[in-house]
Subunit: 217 residues, 2 copies
């Protein structure tokens, strides 16, 4: 994905990547009953320049007003709409190990419109249980389940060795997006969207920063 | 962080962000006993252009040879060195819930030089246990532990409401890096490096991609 068209203008991927952060900050502000915010204040909390903020938000048609700043509620709602958060998504979790359970217990997802409907696991000891009131089914039941139930997103919380095979099964069942926690690069049909969470790469980025600051102890 | 100096040249943050991916692909190639790779093949697996690959790697002094491509082992080692992976890091995990346990059970980290030494939790039922042969201690013991033991990195796998307070405690004990899984923006002294894993933002990026492709079911 290199960008997208909103109205006439092409929005760059870098801006798209920043939108969830804007959304998070604006949600925090709303939670503190802040009604409006200047680009300067917004930029300070985001750690980018005020002119970058204005440039980013101007791409969507300029939500700000000179001397007033941005209306927090309006801007949050508009960014949410651009992100597709005015819709709800049904998510299933493949793998009910620690990671799958952590995702299932996460408080934020449901609030943001991501409804977790089921977990799947190969371990017979797990199936039949509930995690955070979400049922755990056998992997053998996955295809049948998907014929009868809606699922937009599948979180892949399984070993890398099985991720590709399970991804293909899910794609065959009409899944729209894969949230991939495995370390492999999934090969999927173009219409299926993949978002990778690369924990090892994130840790390497941290080790780089520590090294640059003088190295470990 | 805007970049860093390697030799004479300034390396951009975008390149730095790609280095862990190069490292991962090169590790995969090495695992398959591939000895050399062209920028074209490397670019295809990375999903970027061959000229981008050449441009990225040229910044470190040109590891490639015309007509030969890159020596996988050498390139992997050099990128590892730049990332600080030729050193070992000691990591502790704050919070032995599902997420903390998932991190502790992750196979890749130790192999990459990130040694997990201890977990800490406020739950008395957890303390005294071992997870993947790593001991779980009480949070009350954290400061004492850090006076007597080395820890470079702390993974924060605790609720957002407690993350800032615990981060400050860790900074006071000389931690070098925080791997932050909470959703808040940590305020820490400049010498302490923070790497955030933003799960909710990652999910929003996926919902955006699904929306752009036609929306949920």
């Amino acid at each position: 994905m290199d960008g997208f068209e909103e109205g006439k203008k092409k929005i760059s991927e870098a801006v798209i990547r920043r939108l969830p952060r804007y959304y998070r900050f604006l949600s925090e502000l709303q939670g503190r009953n802040v009604e409006r915010i200047s680009s300067k204040e917004l930029s300070r909390s985001m750690g980018i320049t005020a002119s970058q903020v204005r440039q980013d938000l101007n791409q969507f048609g300029g939500f700000g007003q000179q001397g007033y700043g941005y209306n927090v509620d309006y801007l949050r709602r508009e960014i949410g709409r651009i992100l597709g958060l005015n819709q709800t998504y049904t998510m299933i979790i493949i793998g009910a190990g620690n990671l799958g359970r952590a995702i299932c217990n996460h408080q934020n997802f449901d609030r943001r419109g991501f409804h977790i409907a089921a977990l799947f696991d190969i371990d017979p000891k797990m199936t039949g249980k509930e995690i955070n009131r979400v049922p755990v089914y056998s992997m053998d039941f996955l295809e049948t389940y998907l014929r009868e139930n809606r699922a937009d997103i599948a979180a892949l919380c399984i070993p890398s060795s099985r991720a590709q095979e399970v991804a293909m099964l899910l794609c065959g069942c009409g899944i729209k997006g894969l949230w991939n926690f495995s370390s492999i690069e999934l090969r999927v049909p173009e219409q299926v969207k993949v978002e990778n969470v690369r924990l090892t790469e994130s840790l390497m980025t941290l080790s780089f920063a520590i090294k640059e600051a003088g190295g470990p102890q």
